[in-house]
Protein backbone atom coordinates (compact mmCIF):
# COMPACT_ATOMS: atom_id res chain seq x y z
CA UNK A 1 0.00 0.00 0.00
CA UNK A 2 1.24 3.46 -0.81
CA UNK A 3 1.61 5.78 2.18
CA UNK A 4 -1.23 7.99 0.89
CA UNK A 5 -3.58 4.99 0.80
CA UNK A 6 -2.52 3.82 4.24
CA UNK A 7 -3.18 7.28 5.65
CA UNK A 8 -6.56 7.46 3.93
CA UNK A 9 -7.54 4.04 5.26
CA UNK A 10 -6.51 4.91 8.81
CA UNK A 11 -8.30 8.23 8.59
CA UNK A 12 -11.49 6.49 7.46
CA UNK A 13 -11.35 4.15 10.45
CA UNK A 14 -12.81 6.93 12.59
CA UNK A 15 -16.48 7.52 11.88
CA UNK A 16 -16.48 10.93 13.58
CA UNK A 17 -13.59 12.06 11.38
CA UNK A 18 -15.42 10.90 8.27
CA UNK A 19 -18.51 12.82 9.34
CA UNK A 20 -16.28 15.87 9.85
CA UNK A 21 -14.77 15.43 6.41
CA UNK A 22 -18.22 15.16 4.80
CA UNK A 23 -19.34 18.29 6.63
CA UNK A 24 -16.16 20.10 5.60
CA UNK A 25 -16.72 19.14 1.95
CA UNK A 26 -20.26 20.51 2.19
CA UNK A 27 -19.00 23.78 3.72
CA UNK A 28 -16.33 24.18 1.04
CA UNK A 29 -18.76 23.44 -1.80
CA UNK A 30 -21.29 25.89 -0.38
CA UNK A 31 -18.58 28.56 -0.14
CA UNK A 32 -17.28 27.85 -3.63
CA UNK A 33 -20.66 27.84 -5.37
CA UNK A 34 -22.31 30.53 -3.24
CA UNK A 35 -23.12 32.85 -6.19
CA UNK A 36 -24.88 30.02 -8.05
CA UNK A 37 -26.82 28.36 -5.22
CA UNK A 38 -27.93 31.46 -3.30
CA UNK A 39 -31.62 32.30 -3.71
CA UNK A 40 -30.71 35.94 -4.33
CA UNK A 41 -27.65 38.14 -4.75
CA UNK A 42 -27.64 39.72 -1.28
CA UNK A 43 -25.57 42.73 -2.38
CA UNK A 44 -27.59 43.72 -5.40
CA UNK A 45 -29.44 46.64 -3.79
CA UNK A 46 -32.00 46.73 -6.60
CA UNK A 47 -33.28 43.31 -5.55
CA UNK A 48 -33.82 44.26 -1.91
CA UNK A 49 -37.17 45.43 -0.63
CA UNK A 50 -37.38 47.19 2.74
CA UNK A 51 -40.89 45.81 3.12
CA UNK A 52 -39.22 42.43 3.59
CA UNK A 53 -36.97 43.56 6.43
CA UNK A 54 -36.61 41.37 9.53
CA UNK A 55 -38.91 38.60 8.37
CA UNK A 56 -38.71 35.53 10.62
CA UNK A 57 -37.39 32.22 9.24
CA UNK A 58 -39.73 30.55 6.79
CA UNK A 59 -41.73 33.74 6.07
CA UNK A 60 -42.83 34.71 2.58
CA UNK A 61 -41.57 37.99 1.05
CA UNK A 62 -43.80 40.54 -0.64
CA UNK A 63 -42.74 39.02 -3.95
CA UNK A 64 -43.72 35.55 -2.78
CA UNK A 65 -40.30 33.96 -2.23
CA UNK A 66 -39.78 31.96 0.95
CA UNK A 67 -36.89 33.10 3.19
CA UNK A 68 -35.96 29.90 4.98
CA UNK A 69 -33.59 31.63 7.40
CA UNK A 70 -35.44 34.97 7.53
CA UNK A 71 -34.20 38.36 6.39
CA UNK A 72 -32.06 41.09 7.92
CA UNK A 73 -32.85 44.77 8.50
CA UNK A 74 -32.36 45.56 4.80
CA UNK A 75 -34.74 42.83 3.66
CA UNK A 76 -31.78 40.68 2.60
CA UNK A 77 -32.27 36.92 2.48
CA UNK A 78 -30.20 35.52 5.37
CA UNK A 79 -29.45 32.21 3.64
CA UNK A 80 -27.90 34.09 0.71
CA UNK A 81 -26.01 36.45 2.99
CA UNK A 82 -24.65 33.49 4.97
CA UNK A 83 -23.48 31.65 1.84
CA UNK A 84 -21.70 34.78 0.59
CA UNK A 85 -20.30 35.44 4.07
CA UNK A 86 -19.05 31.88 4.34
CA UNK A 87 -17.31 32.36 1.00
CA UNK A 88 -15.50 35.44 2.31
CA UNK A 89 -14.60 33.79 5.64
CA UNK A 90 -13.25 30.63 4.03
CA UNK A 91 -11.31 32.62 1.42
CA UNK A 92 -9.69 34.79 4.10
CA UNK A 93 -8.87 31.73 6.24
CA UNK A 94 -7.32 29.79 3.35
CA UNK A 95 -5.37 32.73 1.92
CA UNK A 96 -3.87 33.85 5.21
CA UNK A 97 -3.01 30.29 6.25
CA UNK A 98 -1.31 29.53 2.92
CA UNK A 99 0.75 32.73 3.06
CA UNK A 100 1.67 32.24 6.71
CA UNK A 101 2.59 28.62 6.02
CA UNK A 102 4.89 29.60 3.14
CA UNK A 103 6.57 32.42 5.07
CA UNK A 104 6.76 30.65 8.42
CA UNK A 105 8.06 27.36 7.01
CA UNK A 106 10.71 29.09 4.87
CA UNK A 107 11.96 31.07 7.86
CA UNK A 108 11.81 28.04 10.18
CA UNK A 109 13.73 25.81 7.79
CA UNK A 110 16.29 28.54 7.13
CA UNK A 111 16.74 29.01 10.89
CA UNK A 112 17.33 25.27 11.39
CA UNK A 113 19.62 24.89 8.39
CA UNK A 114 21.84 27.95 8.80
CA UNK A 115 21.71 28.22 12.61
CA UNK A 116 23.82 30.93 14.20
CA UNK A 117 22.64 34.52 14.47
CA UNK A 118 19.80 34.01 11.96
CA UNK A 119 18.37 31.21 14.07
CA UNK A 120 18.78 33.20 17.29
CA UNK A 121 17.19 36.31 15.83
CA UNK A 122 14.20 34.56 14.23
CA UNK A 123 13.45 32.46 17.28
CA UNK A 124 13.72 35.46 19.62
CA UNK A 125 11.15 37.30 17.52
CA UNK A 126 8.90 34.24 17.36
CA UNK A 127 9.12 33.69 21.12
CA UNK A 128 8.42 37.32 21.87
CA UNK A 129 5.39 37.20 19.63
CA UNK A 130 4.09 33.90 20.94
CA UNK A 131 4.16 35.21 24.50
CA UNK A 132 1.24 37.50 23.59
CA UNK A 133 -2.24 36.28 22.66
CA UNK A 134 -2.91 36.39 18.93
CA UNK A 135 -6.00 38.56 19.30
CA UNK A 136 -3.96 41.30 20.97
CA UNK A 137 -1.36 41.34 18.19
CA UNK A 138 -4.05 41.35 15.52
CA UNK A 139 -5.92 44.18 17.28
CA UNK A 140 -2.80 46.32 17.41
CA UNK A 141 -1.92 45.65 13.78
CA UNK A 142 -5.41 46.49 12.60
CA UNK A 143 -5.47 49.62 14.75
CA UNK A 144 -2.34 50.62 12.84
CA UNK A 145 -3.24 49.37 9.36
CA UNK A 146 -6.94 50.19 9.20
CA UNK A 147 -9.71 48.19 7.55
CA UNK A 148 -9.68 46.12 4.40
CA UNK A 149 -9.41 42.60 3.02
CA UNK A 150 -5.65 42.92 2.44
CA UNK A 151 -5.11 44.39 5.92
CA UNK A 152 -6.87 41.54 7.68
CA UNK A 153 -4.88 38.99 5.68
CA UNK A 154 -1.65 40.77 6.67
CA UNK A 155 -2.70 40.75 10.32
CA UNK A 156 -3.62 37.05 10.22
CA UNK A 157 -0.34 36.13 8.53
CA UNK A 158 1.62 38.16 11.07
CA UNK A 159 -0.18 36.36 13.88
CA UNK A 160 0.33 32.87 12.45
CA UNK A 161 3.80 32.73 10.92
CA UNK A 162 5.56 32.10 14.24
CA UNK A 163 3.71 28.82 14.86
CA UNK A 164 4.88 27.43 11.51
CA UNK A 165 8.40 28.74 11.95
CA UNK A 166 8.70 27.04 15.35
CA UNK A 167 7.23 23.75 14.16
CA UNK A 168 9.25 23.66 10.94
CA UNK A 169 12.46 24.45 12.81
CA UNK A 170 11.86 21.72 15.39
CA UNK A 171 11.16 19.11 12.69
CA UNK A 172 14.10 20.22 10.53
CA UNK A 173 16.56 20.08 13.44
CA UNK A 174 15.74 16.37 13.80
CA UNK A 175 15.89 15.72 10.06
CA UNK A 176 19.15 17.50 9.36
CA UNK A 177 21.09 14.98 11.44
CA UNK A 178 19.97 12.13 9.19
CA UNK A 179 22.10 10.50 6.55
CA UNK A 180 20.14 11.51 3.49
CA UNK A 181 20.96 15.12 4.35
CA UNK A 182 24.65 14.26 4.63
CA UNK A 183 24.39 12.62 1.23
CA UNK A 184 22.80 15.72 -0.28
CA UNK A 185 25.55 17.88 1.23
CA UNK A 186 28.21 15.51 -0.15
CA UNK A 187 26.68 15.89 -3.61
CA UNK A 188 27.25 19.65 -3.24
CA UNK A 189 23.59 20.55 -3.76
CA UNK A 190 22.70 24.18 -3.17
CA UNK A 191 21.27 25.18 0.21
CA UNK A 192 17.93 26.04 -1.36
CA UNK A 193 17.72 22.64 -3.03
CA UNK A 194 18.51 20.75 0.18
CA UNK A 195 16.05 22.83 2.19
CA UNK A 196 13.09 22.63 -0.17
CA UNK A 197 13.61 19.31 -1.96
CA UNK A 198 15.02 17.22 0.87
CA UNK A 199 14.22 18.71 4.27
CA UNK A 200 10.78 20.14 3.54
CA UNK A 201 9.03 16.93 2.38
CA UNK A 202 10.20 15.13 5.51
CA UNK A 203 9.01 17.94 7.79
CA UNK A 204 5.54 18.10 6.26
CA UNK A 205 3.33 15.88 8.49
CA UNK A 206 3.31 18.05 11.64
CA UNK A 207 3.03 21.17 9.47
CA UNK A 208 -0.04 19.85 7.66
CA UNK A 209 -1.79 19.12 10.94
CA UNK A 210 -0.91 22.55 12.28
CA UNK A 211 -2.09 24.25 9.08
CA UNK A 212 -5.47 22.52 9.28
CA UNK A 213 -5.98 23.65 12.87
CA UNK A 214 -4.80 27.14 11.98
CA UNK A 215 -7.34 27.54 9.16
CA UNK A 216 -10.09 27.15 11.75
CA UNK A 217 -8.28 29.50 14.12
CA UNK A 218 -7.84 32.09 11.35
CA UNK A 219 -11.51 31.95 10.40
CA UNK A 220 -12.54 32.41 14.04
CA UNK A 221 -10.08 35.24 14.61
CA UNK A 222 -11.19 37.05 11.46
CA UNK A 223 -14.83 36.70 12.54
CA UNK A 224 -13.98 38.08 15.99
CA UNK A 225 -12.10 41.06 14.58
CA UNK A 226 -14.88 41.79 12.09
CA UNK A 227 -17.37 41.53 14.92
CA UNK A 228 -15.40 44.17 16.82
CA UNK A 229 -15.58 46.37 13.73
CA UNK A 230 -11.86 46.14 12.97
CA UNK A 231 -11.82 43.51 10.26
CA UNK A 232 -13.52 43.56 6.91
CA UNK A 233 -15.34 46.63 5.58
CA UNK A 234 -19.12 46.55 5.31
CA UNK A 235 -18.94 46.02 1.54
CA UNK A 236 -17.43 42.53 1.95
CA UNK A 237 -19.30 41.13 4.92
CA UNK A 238 -17.90 37.92 6.37
CA UNK A 239 -19.80 35.81 8.88
CA UNK A 240 -18.40 37.91 11.74
CA UNK A 241 -19.86 41.10 10.34
CA UNK A 242 -23.24 39.44 9.75
CA UNK A 243 -23.28 38.35 13.40
CA UNK A 244 -22.27 41.84 14.48
CA UNK A 245 -25.09 43.34 12.42
CA UNK A 246 -27.54 40.90 13.99
CA UNK A 247 -26.42 41.96 17.47
CA UNK A 248 -28.26 45.27 16.93
CA UNK A 249 -31.57 43.40 16.62
CA UNK A 250 -30.92 40.68 19.18
CA UNK A 251 -32.46 42.51 22.12
CA UNK A 252 -35.73 42.94 20.24
CA UNK A 253 -35.88 39.17 19.75
CA UNK A 254 -34.84 39.02 16.07
CA UNK A 255 -32.50 36.18 16.90
CA UNK A 256 -32.06 34.75 13.39
CA UNK A 257 -29.97 37.64 12.06
CA UNK A 258 -27.04 36.70 14.28
CA UNK A 259 -27.86 33.11 15.33
CA UNK A 260 -27.73 31.52 11.86
CA UNK A 261 -24.46 33.09 10.64
CA UNK A 262 -22.99 31.91 13.95
CA UNK A 263 -24.17 28.36 13.34
CA UNK A 264 -22.60 28.46 9.85
CA UNK A 265 -19.34 29.65 11.42
CA UNK A 266 -19.55 26.91 14.04
CA UNK A 267 -20.13 24.17 11.43
CA UNK A 268 -17.12 25.34 9.43
CA UNK A 269 -14.84 25.46 12.49
CA UNK A 270 -16.04 22.16 14.00
CA UNK A 271 -15.66 20.26 10.72
CA UNK A 272 -12.11 21.55 10.26
CA UNK A 273 -11.21 20.69 13.86
CA UNK A 274 -12.59 17.14 13.55
CA UNK A 275 -10.55 16.53 10.43
CA UNK A 276 -7.44 18.07 11.99
CA UNK A 277 -7.81 15.93 15.14
CA UNK A 278 -7.85 12.68 13.18
CA UNK A 279 -5.13 13.87 10.80
CA UNK A 280 -2.95 14.52 13.84
CA UNK A 281 -3.52 10.97 15.11
CA UNK A 282 -2.95 9.34 11.72
CA UNK A 283 0.21 11.31 10.90
CA UNK A 284 1.65 10.84 14.38
CA UNK A 285 4.74 8.63 13.98
CA UNK A 286 3.63 6.64 17.04
CA UNK A 287 0.56 5.51 15.10
CA UNK A 288 -3.11 6.23 15.66
CA UNK A 289 -4.54 5.69 19.10
CA UNK A 290 -7.96 4.33 19.61
Amino acid sequence: MTPARRIAAEFAASRIALAGLALLALVLLAALFAPWISPQNPYDLARLDLLDSRLPPGARSAAGAIHWLGTDDQGRDMLSAILYGLRTSVAVGLTSTTLALAIGVSLGLAAAWFGGWLDALLMRIADLQLSFPSILIALVLLAVLGQGLDKIVIALVAVQWAYYARTARAAALVERRKEYVDAAVALAFSNARIIFRHLLPNCLPPLLVLATVQIAAAITLEATLSFLGLGLPITQPSLGLLISNGFNYLLSGHYWISAFPGIALLLAVVSINLVADRLGEVLDPHGPQR
Partner: protein, 324 residues
Protein backbone atom coordinates in the same frame (compact mmCIF):
# COMPACT_ATOMS: atom_id res chain seq x y z
CA UNK B 1 17.78 31.24 42.26
CA UNK B 2 18.30 34.93 43.06
CA UNK B 3 20.53 35.32 40.01
CA UNK B 4 17.81 33.73 37.92
CA UNK B 5 15.20 36.14 39.25
CA UNK B 6 17.42 39.10 38.42
CA UNK B 7 18.17 37.84 34.94
CA UNK B 8 14.47 37.33 34.28
CA UNK B 9 13.78 40.85 35.55
CA UNK B 10 16.39 42.32 33.21
CA UNK B 11 14.91 40.37 30.29
CA UNK B 12 11.47 41.65 31.21
CA UNK B 13 12.65 45.26 31.17
CA UNK B 14 14.23 44.69 27.74
CA UNK B 15 10.99 43.21 26.42
CA UNK B 16 9.04 46.18 27.78
CA UNK B 17 11.41 48.59 26.08
CA UNK B 18 11.28 46.85 22.69
CA UNK B 19 7.50 46.61 22.85
CA UNK B 20 7.10 50.28 23.74
CA UNK B 21 9.21 51.24 20.73
CA UNK B 22 7.27 48.96 18.36
CA UNK B 23 3.90 50.05 19.69
CA UNK B 24 4.81 53.73 19.62
CA UNK B 25 6.22 53.63 16.10
CA UNK B 26 3.31 51.57 14.82
CA UNK B 27 0.52 53.50 16.44
CA UNK B 28 1.99 56.91 15.71
CA UNK B 29 3.10 56.20 12.15
CA UNK B 30 -0.40 56.12 10.70
CA UNK B 31 -3.42 58.37 10.55
CA UNK B 32 -3.61 61.95 11.67
CA UNK B 33 -5.63 62.28 14.84
CA UNK B 34 -5.92 66.02 14.22
CA UNK B 35 -8.49 65.31 11.49
CA UNK B 36 -10.73 63.72 14.06
CA UNK B 37 -10.04 66.00 16.98
CA UNK B 38 -10.44 69.42 15.46
CA UNK B 39 -13.69 70.89 14.31
CA UNK B 40 -13.83 70.26 10.53
CA UNK B 41 -14.70 73.93 9.96
CA UNK B 42 -11.52 75.22 11.66
CA UNK B 43 -8.96 77.00 9.47
CA UNK B 44 -5.28 76.24 8.86
CA UNK B 45 -4.07 78.37 11.79
CA UNK B 46 -6.27 76.64 14.32
CA UNK B 47 -5.18 73.23 13.06
CA UNK B 48 -1.52 74.24 13.29
CA UNK B 49 -2.05 75.55 16.83
CA UNK B 50 -3.78 72.34 17.93
CA UNK B 51 -1.04 70.21 16.33
CA UNK B 52 1.66 72.15 18.16
CA UNK B 53 -0.24 72.02 21.45
CA UNK B 54 -0.39 68.21 21.24
CA UNK B 55 3.28 67.98 20.19
CA UNK B 56 2.33 66.30 16.90
CA UNK B 57 4.43 68.66 14.77
CA UNK B 58 7.71 67.32 16.08
CA UNK B 59 9.63 64.46 14.42
CA UNK B 60 8.59 60.94 15.41
CA UNK B 61 11.78 60.02 17.28
CA UNK B 62 11.55 63.23 19.28
CA UNK B 63 7.97 62.38 20.17
CA UNK B 64 9.18 58.96 21.28
CA UNK B 65 11.90 60.37 23.56
CA UNK B 66 9.42 62.78 25.08
CA UNK B 67 7.09 59.82 25.55
CA UNK B 68 9.76 57.63 27.20
CA UNK B 69 10.88 60.50 29.42
CA UNK B 70 7.34 61.02 30.62
CA UNK B 71 6.66 57.29 30.84
CA UNK B 72 9.54 56.95 33.31
CA UNK B 73 7.64 59.28 35.63
CA UNK B 74 4.39 57.36 35.15
CA UNK B 75 2.91 59.76 32.63
CA UNK B 76 1.79 58.04 29.42
CA UNK B 77 0.31 61.11 27.76
CA UNK B 78 -3.10 62.75 27.80
CA UNK B 79 -6.06 61.24 26.06
CA UNK B 80 -6.94 63.27 22.95
CA UNK B 81 -10.61 62.46 23.33
CA UNK B 82 -11.10 62.97 27.09
CA UNK B 83 -8.23 65.37 27.77
CA UNK B 84 -7.25 63.55 30.98
CA UNK B 85 -4.09 61.47 31.65
CA UNK B 86 -4.33 58.24 29.64
CA UNK B 87 -2.90 56.13 32.43
CA UNK B 88 -5.61 57.41 34.77
CA UNK B 89 -8.29 56.33 32.31
CA UNK B 90 -6.80 52.85 32.07
CA UNK B 91 -6.28 52.42 35.80
CA UNK B 92 -9.82 53.57 36.43
CA UNK B 93 -11.14 50.82 34.13
CA UNK B 94 -8.67 48.14 35.21
CA UNK B 95 -10.50 46.83 38.32
CA UNK B 96 -13.54 45.96 36.19
CA UNK B 97 -11.41 43.95 33.77
CA UNK B 98 -9.43 42.25 36.51
CA UNK B 99 -12.61 41.32 38.37
CA UNK B 100 -14.07 39.77 35.22
CA UNK B 101 -10.85 37.94 34.33
CA UNK B 102 -10.36 36.60 37.87
CA UNK B 103 -13.95 35.39 38.07
CA UNK B 104 -13.61 33.66 34.69
CA UNK B 105 -10.34 31.98 35.65
CA UNK B 106 -11.76 30.82 39.00
CA UNK B 107 -14.77 29.26 37.27
CA UNK B 108 -12.52 27.58 34.70
CA UNK B 109 -10.25 26.05 37.36
CA UNK B 110 -12.79 25.23 40.07
CA UNK B 111 -15.19 23.62 37.60
CA UNK B 112 -12.63 22.31 35.11
CA UNK B 113 -10.50 20.25 37.51
CA UNK B 114 -13.35 18.13 38.96
CA UNK B 115 -14.91 17.64 35.53
CA UNK B 116 -11.55 16.72 34.00
CA UNK B 117 -10.81 14.30 36.86
CA UNK B 118 -14.15 12.62 36.33
CA UNK B 119 -13.62 12.33 32.57
CA UNK B 120 -10.09 11.02 33.17
CA UNK B 121 -11.11 8.39 35.75
CA UNK B 122 -14.11 7.13 33.78
CA UNK B 123 -13.25 7.87 30.14
CA UNK B 124 -15.76 5.39 28.75
CA UNK B 125 -18.73 6.39 30.91
CA UNK B 126 -21.58 8.44 29.47
CA UNK B 127 -20.67 11.35 31.76
CA UNK B 128 -17.01 11.19 30.72
CA UNK B 129 -17.89 11.23 27.05
CA UNK B 130 -20.37 14.08 27.52
CA UNK B 131 -17.77 16.16 29.35
CA UNK B 132 -15.24 15.62 26.57
CA UNK B 133 -17.74 16.37 23.80
CA UNK B 134 -18.66 19.55 25.66
CA UNK B 135 -15.03 20.59 25.93
CA UNK B 136 -14.45 20.05 22.20
CA UNK B 137 -17.48 22.24 21.55
CA UNK B 138 -16.10 24.82 23.97
CA UNK B 139 -12.92 24.99 21.90
CA UNK B 140 -14.72 25.35 18.60
CA UNK B 141 -17.44 27.81 19.58
CA UNK B 142 -16.52 31.38 18.67
CA UNK B 143 -16.45 33.25 21.98
CA UNK B 144 -18.23 36.35 20.75
CA UNK B 145 -21.09 34.38 19.27
CA UNK B 146 -21.56 32.42 22.49
CA UNK B 147 -21.84 35.78 24.27
CA UNK B 148 -24.66 36.84 21.97
CA UNK B 149 -26.46 33.53 22.42
CA UNK B 150 -26.14 33.81 26.21
CA UNK B 151 -27.81 37.22 26.01
CA UNK B 152 -30.48 35.84 23.70
CA UNK B 153 -31.36 32.89 25.95
CA UNK B 154 -30.90 34.25 29.46
CA UNK B 155 -31.82 37.89 28.94
CA UNK B 156 -34.15 38.15 25.97
CA UNK B 157 -36.04 34.85 26.16
CA UNK B 158 -35.90 33.96 29.85
CA UNK B 159 -35.43 37.46 31.22
CA UNK B 160 -33.33 36.18 34.12
CA UNK B 161 -30.15 38.23 33.80
CA UNK B 162 -29.22 41.76 32.72
CA UNK B 163 -27.56 42.28 29.33
CA UNK B 164 -25.04 45.00 29.97
CA UNK B 165 -22.97 46.99 32.43
CA UNK B 166 -21.54 46.21 35.84
CA UNK B 167 -24.52 47.03 38.00
CA UNK B 168 -24.02 48.77 41.35
CA UNK B 169 -20.57 48.31 42.85
CA UNK B 170 -19.39 48.15 46.44
CA UNK B 171 -15.97 49.26 47.61
CA UNK B 172 -13.44 46.67 48.68
CA UNK B 173 -10.29 48.35 50.04
CA UNK B 174 -11.22 51.42 48.01
CA UNK B 175 -11.64 49.49 44.76
CA UNK B 176 -15.13 49.26 43.27
CA UNK B 177 -16.21 45.65 42.72
CA UNK B 178 -19.44 44.12 41.47
CA UNK B 179 -19.47 40.79 43.24
CA UNK B 180 -20.31 42.23 46.66
CA UNK B 181 -23.76 43.46 45.67
CA UNK B 182 -26.55 41.09 44.66
CA UNK B 183 -27.37 43.15 41.57
CA UNK B 184 -23.68 43.38 40.62
CA UNK B 185 -23.35 39.63 40.96
CA UNK B 186 -26.26 39.17 38.55
CA UNK B 187 -24.46 41.41 36.06
CA UNK B 188 -21.30 39.38 36.48
CA UNK B 189 -22.80 35.97 35.61
CA UNK B 190 -23.11 36.12 31.81
CA UNK B 191 -19.81 37.89 31.00
CA UNK B 192 -17.96 35.51 33.33
CA UNK B 193 -19.55 32.43 31.76
CA UNK B 194 -18.69 33.76 28.32
CA UNK B 195 -15.08 34.51 29.15
CA UNK B 196 -14.57 31.28 31.13
CA UNK B 197 -15.78 28.93 28.39
CA UNK B 198 -12.53 28.54 26.47
CA UNK B 199 -10.32 28.02 29.50
CA UNK B 200 -12.85 25.72 31.12
CA UNK B 201 -12.50 23.46 28.09
CA UNK B 202 -8.73 23.78 28.24
CA UNK B 203 -8.54 22.89 31.96
CA UNK B 204 -10.88 19.92 31.45
CA UNK B 205 -8.69 18.53 28.67
CA UNK B 206 -5.45 19.07 30.57
CA UNK B 207 -6.80 17.52 33.77
CA UNK B 208 -8.23 14.58 31.90
CA UNK B 209 -5.07 13.70 30.03
CA UNK B 210 -2.99 14.30 33.16
CA UNK B 211 -5.24 11.99 35.16
CA UNK B 212 -5.14 9.22 32.57
CA UNK B 213 -1.36 9.53 32.44
CA UNK B 214 -1.01 9.46 36.24
CA UNK B 215 -3.32 6.48 36.74
CA UNK B 216 -0.90 4.32 34.75
CA UNK B 217 2.11 5.25 36.90
CA UNK B 218 3.78 2.95 39.40
CA UNK B 219 3.19 5.25 42.33
CA UNK B 220 -0.56 4.86 41.89
CA UNK B 221 -0.25 1.08 41.79
CA UNK B 222 1.97 1.26 44.86
CA UNK B 223 -0.46 3.49 46.74
CA UNK B 224 -3.25 1.04 45.97
CA UNK B 225 -1.10 -1.92 47.00
CA UNK B 226 -0.48 -0.14 50.28
CA UNK B 227 -4.25 -0.37 50.79
CA UNK B 228 -5.03 3.34 50.56
CA UNK B 229 -8.61 4.23 49.79
CA UNK B 230 -9.35 5.20 46.19
CA UNK B 231 -10.35 8.68 47.40
CA UNK B 232 -6.92 9.15 48.90
CA UNK B 233 -5.11 7.78 45.88
CA UNK B 234 -6.92 10.15 43.56
CA UNK B 235 -7.35 13.10 45.90
CA UNK B 236 -3.73 13.22 47.05
CA UNK B 237 -1.38 11.29 44.80
CA UNK B 238 -2.98 11.77 41.40
CA UNK B 239 -4.30 15.27 41.96
CA UNK B 240 -0.98 16.68 43.09
CA UNK B 241 0.75 15.59 39.91
CA UNK B 242 -2.12 16.74 37.73
CA UNK B 243 -2.12 20.18 39.31
CA UNK B 244 1.36 21.25 38.21
CA UNK B 245 0.63 21.71 34.49
CA UNK B 246 -2.89 22.97 35.20
CA UNK B 247 -1.64 25.72 37.50
CA UNK B 248 1.02 26.72 34.98
CA UNK B 249 -1.45 26.93 32.12
CA UNK B 250 -3.98 28.76 34.28
CA UNK B 251 -1.30 31.32 35.06
CA UNK B 252 -0.20 31.80 31.48
CA UNK B 253 -3.80 31.88 30.29
CA UNK B 254 -4.67 34.66 32.72
CA UNK B 255 -2.93 37.01 30.32
CA UNK B 256 -4.97 35.86 27.35
CA UNK B 257 -8.14 36.08 29.42
CA UNK B 258 -7.34 39.76 29.92
CA UNK B 259 -6.76 40.13 26.18
CA UNK B 260 -9.96 38.27 25.28
CA UNK B 261 -11.87 40.40 27.75
CA UNK B 262 -11.79 42.97 24.91
CA UNK B 263 -14.40 40.87 23.12
CA UNK B 264 -16.55 40.02 26.14
CA UNK B 265 -16.50 43.60 27.40
CA UNK B 266 -17.63 44.87 24.01
CA UNK B 267 -20.58 42.49 23.96
CA UNK B 268 -21.76 43.06 27.52
CA UNK B 269 -20.83 46.76 27.63
CA UNK B 270 -18.66 45.91 30.63
CA UNK B 271 -16.82 49.14 31.50
CA UNK B 272 -13.33 47.64 31.53
CA UNK B 273 -10.12 48.62 29.79
CA UNK B 274 -10.76 46.29 26.83
CA UNK B 275 -13.86 48.22 25.83
CA UNK B 276 -11.86 51.41 26.32
CA UNK B 277 -9.26 50.07 23.86
CA UNK B 278 -11.85 49.37 21.14
CA UNK B 279 -13.44 52.80 21.66
CA UNK B 280 -10.00 54.43 21.49
CA UNK B 281 -9.06 52.57 18.29
CA UNK B 282 -12.27 53.80 16.69
CA UNK B 283 -11.48 57.47 17.44
CA UNK B 284 -7.68 57.10 16.96
CA UNK B 285 -7.01 58.15 20.56
CA UNK B 286 -3.31 57.24 20.34
CA UNK B 287 -2.17 57.98 23.90
CA UNK B 288 -4.85 55.67 25.31
CA UNK B 289 -3.98 52.89 22.83
CA UNK B 290 -0.30 53.17 23.69
CA UNK B 291 -1.00 53.36 27.42
CA UNK B 292 -3.26 50.30 27.26
CA UNK B 293 -0.61 48.31 25.42
CA UNK B 294 2.17 49.39 27.76
CA UNK B 295 0.17 48.39 30.80
CA UNK B 296 -0.99 45.09 29.29
CA UNK B 297 2.53 44.22 28.16
CA UNK B 298 3.83 45.00 31.65
CA UNK B 299 1.06 42.83 33.10
CA UNK B 300 1.98 39.97 30.77
CA UNK B 301 5.66 40.16 31.53
CA UNK B 302 4.84 40.12 35.25
CA UNK B 303 2.48 37.16 34.87
CA UNK B 304 5.04 35.15 32.89
CA UNK B 305 7.67 35.88 35.49
CA UNK B 306 5.44 34.81 38.38
CA UNK B 307 4.35 31.64 36.55
CA UNK B 308 7.96 30.67 35.82
CA UNK B 309 8.93 31.15 39.44
CA UNK B 310 5.83 29.35 40.70
CA UNK B 311 6.54 26.47 38.34
CA UNK B 312 10.02 25.89 39.65
CA UNK B 313 8.63 26.05 43.19
CA UNK B 314 5.79 23.59 42.50
CA UNK B 315 7.93 21.14 40.61
CA UNK B 316 11.41 20.83 42.12
CA UNK B 317 12.60 18.88 39.08
CA UNK B 318 12.63 22.17 37.21
CA UNK B 319 15.67 24.17 38.25
CA UNK B 320 15.64 27.20 35.98
CA UNK B 321 18.91 28.57 37.31
CA UNK B 322 20.89 25.54 36.24
CA UNK B 323 18.97 24.38 33.21
CA UNK B 324 20.50 26.84 30.77
Amino acid sequence: MLAYVFRRLAQSVAVLFVMSLLVFAGVYAVGNPIDILVNPQSDQNEIARATAALGLDRPLFEQYFVFIGHAATGDLGRSFAFNVPAIGLILERMPATLELATAAMLIAVLLGIPLGLWAGLKPRSAAGRTIMAGSILGFSLPTFWVGLMLILVFSVWLGWLPTSGRGPTANLLGIPVSFLTAEGLRHLVLPTANLALFNLSLVIRLTRSGTREAMRQDYVRFARAKGLTETRVVGVHVLRNVLVPVVTVAGVEFGSVIAFAVVTESIFAWPGMGKLLIDSINVLDRPVIVAYLCIVVALFVAINLVVDLAYSWLDPRVRPGEAR
